[in-house]
């Protein structure tokens, strides 16, 4: 690096310019790899459902949860949302399902559709005198693999034929065997829809729900069963919806704040440190380009909090420069030549730079691992920003100074090293 600083500087510029094209949200940058923006910036809905697993035995919870996620994912895909996110989370000992729908316009409809996914279960019937008791069984919608619209050969009424998985088929077989001559109730969303009497043991894993469906109802039900019935009931416990207008408004304002903040920092650095400040301003620009490119490459979903964290790092990235320049000033006051003072300034400022960033890094890491999604975005950009700035502020500024600063007079030959 010392041998040919001009080449290194040229390379850094080249990388920075490539980064600039890469992060520009239009033309080249957009085609290659679009920005990933959070719901709070493009608009969308963040829904948290609690999952009721009280009817599921301990060992099966994971498979039920995964099944639930798959079902809801398929369901959500029907809305035509781009890149819907559905994931399971555990919070306060409670199983949750989180659904993120970006850029959706009709959230109400989406919530309805997710909730409307049929919850099917078969119940045994116990008649004692005039009262009828329904006993829940473990045969539920999670064992359904497919459904078909059929018609009753006698009445031509629409019916829904369902197929069970192998396990489901066996349970169904056992249950019908046990209940020959007795009625078996079919519940949909906790509503009794049909109570046929079992004529004989049914094997093969097929069942028909006759109900009193209209053609439309039956069709919808088939569609939903094919997307999958919910293996466990869910309740919406929290929702966060941001309209696309509010999102883009936030994005514009955050971007403006970032630009204004950058300019203020640059003006301050140049006003206070003159020529050195100009180098720091360039280094800051390179820092911004590199960091944004890194966000896009990793890739990080940029949220409003993430942007805030990044803008903060713009104010912190010049810290290293300030520490170095202040130290250089002292060295020059001591009578060192400018070039020697620069070397000394870098050497002596390094421990302070490392130390001063350490506490921020500690905070960012803890925030990332122990908090909610909002804070995670902030912590991540803060962490990446601080790490990149330690490199960029030092390396690029050092190169600039190395290349452009020459001793005015004959340099002092004896440089007292302490």
């Amino acid at each position: 690096m010392r041998k040919n600083p001009l080449v290194v500087l040229f390379l850094i510029f080249l990388v920075a310019i490539t980064a600039a094209f890469f992060i520009y949200p239009k033309s080249f940058g957009a085609k290659f790899m679009p920005w990933r923006l959070g719901l709070d910036l493009i608009g969308g809905s963040h829904l948290v459902y609690s999952v009721d697993l009280s009817q599921v035995s301990g060992g099966e919870r994971d498979s039920v949860l995964n099944g639930l996620r798959d079902v809801i994912e398929r369901r959500v895909n029907l809305f035509g949302v781009s890149e819907p996110q559905v994931f399971i989370a555990k919070s306060a000992g409670q199983d949750q399902l989180i659904v993120e729908l970006a850029g959706i316009t009709d959230v109400a409809q989406a919530i309805k559709e997710i909730g409307a996914t049929p919850l099917l279960d078969f119940r045994e019937v116990e008649v004692s005198g005039s009262s009828t008791e329904f006993i829940r069984t473990n045969l539920t919608g999670r064992y359904i693999t497919g459904a078909q619209l059929t018609f009753d050969p006698n009445t031509q009424a629409p019916q829904v034929s369902i197929s069970f998985s192998d396990d489901g088929g066996k349970i169904f077989e056992m249950m019908t065997e046990k209940n020959v001559g007795k009625p078996l109730a079919i519940f949909l969303d906790n509503q009794l829809i049909e109570m046929p009497t079992v004529q004989e043991k049914i094997s093969g894993g097929q069942a028909v729900i006759t109900g009193r469906f209209t053609l439309d109802d039956a069709k919808k039900l088939v569609e939903r069963f094919n997307a999958g019935a919910l293996p466990a009931p869910v309740t919406l416990i929290s929702q966060q919806t941001v309209s696309p207008t509010l999102g883009s408004d936030s994005l514009k304002k955050a971007a403006l704040a970032g630009i204004v903040g950058t300019l203020l920092v640059m003006v301050f650095m140049i006003a206070y440190y003159r020529m050195f400040g100009v180098y720091a301003a360039f280094a800051l620009l390179i820092y911004i380009l590199l960091t944004l490119a890194a966000f896009k490459l990793i890739p990080i979903t940029l949220t409003l909090a993430g942007l805030a964290g990044f803008i903060l790092t713009i104010g912190m990235a010049v810290d290293a420069n300030i520490l170095i320049f202040e130290r250089m000033k002292e060295e020059i006051k001591k009578g060192l030549s400018r070039t020697t003072a620069i070397e000394e300034g870098f050497r002596r400022a390094w421990p302070s730079i490392r130390d001063s960033n350490t506490s921020t890094i500690i905070t960012a890491i803890i925030l990332y691992y122990f908090t909610s999604s909002f804070v995670k975005g902030f912590a991540l950009t803060l962490l990446i920003g601080v790490l990149i700035s330690m490199f960029s502020a030092i390396t690029t500024t050092r190169l600039f100074l190395h290349i452009f600063v020459r001793d005015k007079k004959i340099p002092v030959t004896t440089s007292p090293k302490s």
Binding site: T245, L304, M316
Partner: protein, 298 residues
């Protein structure tokens, strides 16, 4: 050179008053907890034409939701209303939405956030864990930074005073939010906790820069100069960098505060107050405390 140590009683007095006010405010008023801690609903909407009075909108919610816990604020710059309500179910949300659209023709929903109380409890727990971990992490870091003992001040004294200034820098913005909560209905949310944790990080490294210089000077000086004088010299030597490193941060914070989105307002305000307090404490509190501590021992 500024004689900071000579006037230490004035500076420490100012801090003592501010801290007392802050602690009293926090103890007396507590914080007004936002929906992400306490559960509830935050509904943001615009009514472009003939914007109604906030009282009208408020009474709409109180009568429709059968509650007196409805607060509505209006931001004329964006033509937007923000309603703070108890938790609203999706069914009620749709009902209210229909009613509002019927009542105000230009009603436009911008954001709706409803959080159940269990989610809030969980976040509160996580926030407390994060705060404890950051304090532990920073204390370990401080212990590490001051692991080498230099006379006449023992290393744990540096560490202890660093933590005292940390408390100082966190208490003042926290007190401000408690006052704002009491007098202006401003709520604290998860962001507030994040802001305080970030302030902790800054506070510590600002103080460490000054203390590092004191130790360096102590080593070079070998007891020729009086301790108070040496501390004063060190503070003056590091003052420019203490102020400038925080000032650049304050510049970007001001940019976010004035140009940025309103949802970041109080997050940024907490940071602004915390970072400004941090500058003050690293120059006018930490070093005077060190001298005071030293004086008591002799």
């Amino acid at each position: 050179m500024l004689n900071i140590i000579g006037h230490k009683n004035i500076f420490l007095g100012i801090s003592a008053v501010l801290i007392t006010v802050a602690v009293v405010a926090v103890v007396l008023f507590g914080f007004r907890q936002g929906i992400d801690f306490a559960g509830g609903t935050l509904w943001q909407f615009r009514i472009a034409n003939n914007a109604p009075a906030t009282d009208d909108v408020e009474s709409f919610f109180t009568s429709n939701l059968n509650t007196n816990e409805a607060f509505v604020t209006y931001d004329p710059a964006n033509n937007s209303f923000i309603a703070r309500l108890p938790a609203v179910s999706e069914a009620d949300h749709q009902k209210l939405l229909g009613a509002l659209k019927g009542k105000y023709a230009s009603f436009d929903e911008a954001g709706f956030q409803s959080i159940g109380p269990s989610v809030g409890n969980e976040l509160r727990k996580k926030a407390v864990i994060a705060i404890i971990l950051v304090i532990i992490g920073i204390s370990l870091y401080v212990a590490f930074a001051f692991r080498k003992v230099f006379q006449p001040v023992s290393s744990w004294t540096y560490g202890f005073i660093t933590l005292l200034t940390l408390f100082h820098d966190v208490a003042i913005p926290a007190g401000m939010l408690a006052l704002l909560g009491h007098y202006a209905q401003i709520e604290i949310d998860g962001n507030f906790v994040v802001a305080l944790l970030v302030v902790m990080g800054f506070s510590v490294h600002d103080t460490i820069v000054v203390f590092d210089r004191i130790r360096e000077n102590l080593l070079l000086d070998r007891g020729k100069t009086a301790f108070a004088e040496l501390v004063n010299l060190s503070v003056n030597q590091t003052m420019a960098r203490s102020i400038n490193t925080s000032l650049t941060l304050i510049l970007v914070l001001l940019a976010i505060y004035f140009a940025g989105p309103p949802s970041l307002h109080y997050f940024v305000l907490t940071l602004l107050v915390g970072v400004t307090t941090g500058i003050y404490s690293s120059i006018f509190v930490a070093s005077p405390l060190l001298v005071l501590w030293q004086g008591r021992k002799k």
